[in-house]
Symmetry: C2
Subunit: 171 residues, 2 copies
């Protein structure tokens, strides 16, 4: 095999990995989208189980986590950094003022639209570079802590809360 054929093989391998991770990310966001459009306001405002997080809190939480990806992945400034105080640093029912459900649905769509734009434009080799929450020294020792790994981890995070959000649908 020539050097250039082998280089192509490496690029093809990277492309397949990226496709695997991004397909899972997209399909889980699509499942949240489906709940955003199908659940009633009353269902979103209810608790996912007695005494547990409400739907609206978990929606805000997912938005804050996805919005946090912009700086971590080098995609620029966050859209809604003010959400962290309410949805990441404080528990549900802490008495803080939340955006309305309609505002949150709009934020969810805007964060995902902007994120998808950046994700689709990132060159393949960039996905395997260091993300901004890991130091250069740590990344040298642990090269799996790259940008694509963040997507894999965040997909699992979305999945975890999806399992709870589906309980909002009345039986």
């Amino acid at each position: 095999m020539t050097a250039s054929a082998i280089t192509n093989e490496n690029t093809a391998t990277q492309t397949v990995f990226i496709k695997m991770a991004l397909s899972a990310w997209d399909s889980h966001n699509a499942r949240v989208n489906k709940l955003v459009t199908s659940l009633s306001d009353e269902e979103w405002l209810a608790e996912t189980a007695p005494g547990r997080n409400s739907g609206i809190y978990l929606l805000g939480h997912l938005i804050a986590v996805s919005d946090g990806l912009f700086p971590i992945l080098g995609f620029g400034e966050r859209l809604y950094p003010e959400l962290d105080k309410v949805f990441l640093e404080s528990p549900d029912k802490a008495g803080l003022v939340m955006p309305s459900l309609n505002e949150l649905k709009e934020y969810w769509n805007k964060v995902n639209a902007k994120l998808s734009g950046h994700i689709s434009q990132l060159p393949a080799e960039e996905w395997f570079t260091r993300h901004n929450n890991v130091s250069e020294a740590d990344f040298a020792k642990e090269p799996h802590r790259n940008k694509l790994n963040i997507i894999i981890n965040r997909t699992n995070h979305t999945s975890y809360h999806l399992g709870q959000l589906v309980y909002l649908a009345k039986k």
Copy 2:
């Protein structure tokens, strides 16, 4: 760069990606393990939310799905194929006889121990080959439907139910 240096780079890329997917798989199974050892029998037998799946049903469901990986990944025969009827093909409270909680905990450990053995021995390049639930023709068109992709998808599945299982812990 020489051809052999580039080949090494491709192998390194594969190794990093395998590490990413298997780390996520292991850490989510470890979180289930933690619930297996920390929740009381009473908690495991309860519903995760009113009218929703019980803990014991979800544990059986996760075991059946992980046990199903043996044939899909070419790791040989399943340990507990009889679980499918109760935990995959029937809903909770269908009136079918379930193994006891202690038996299920033992099955969970045995399936994971056997699976880990196979996973740790699979050569890197094998992870990017076809799994047995996809045809050769489809795999030629969609090379991301490989063995490692199954691990990524199943990790998300475990995450989804973990989000529900944590509701078993009394507040």
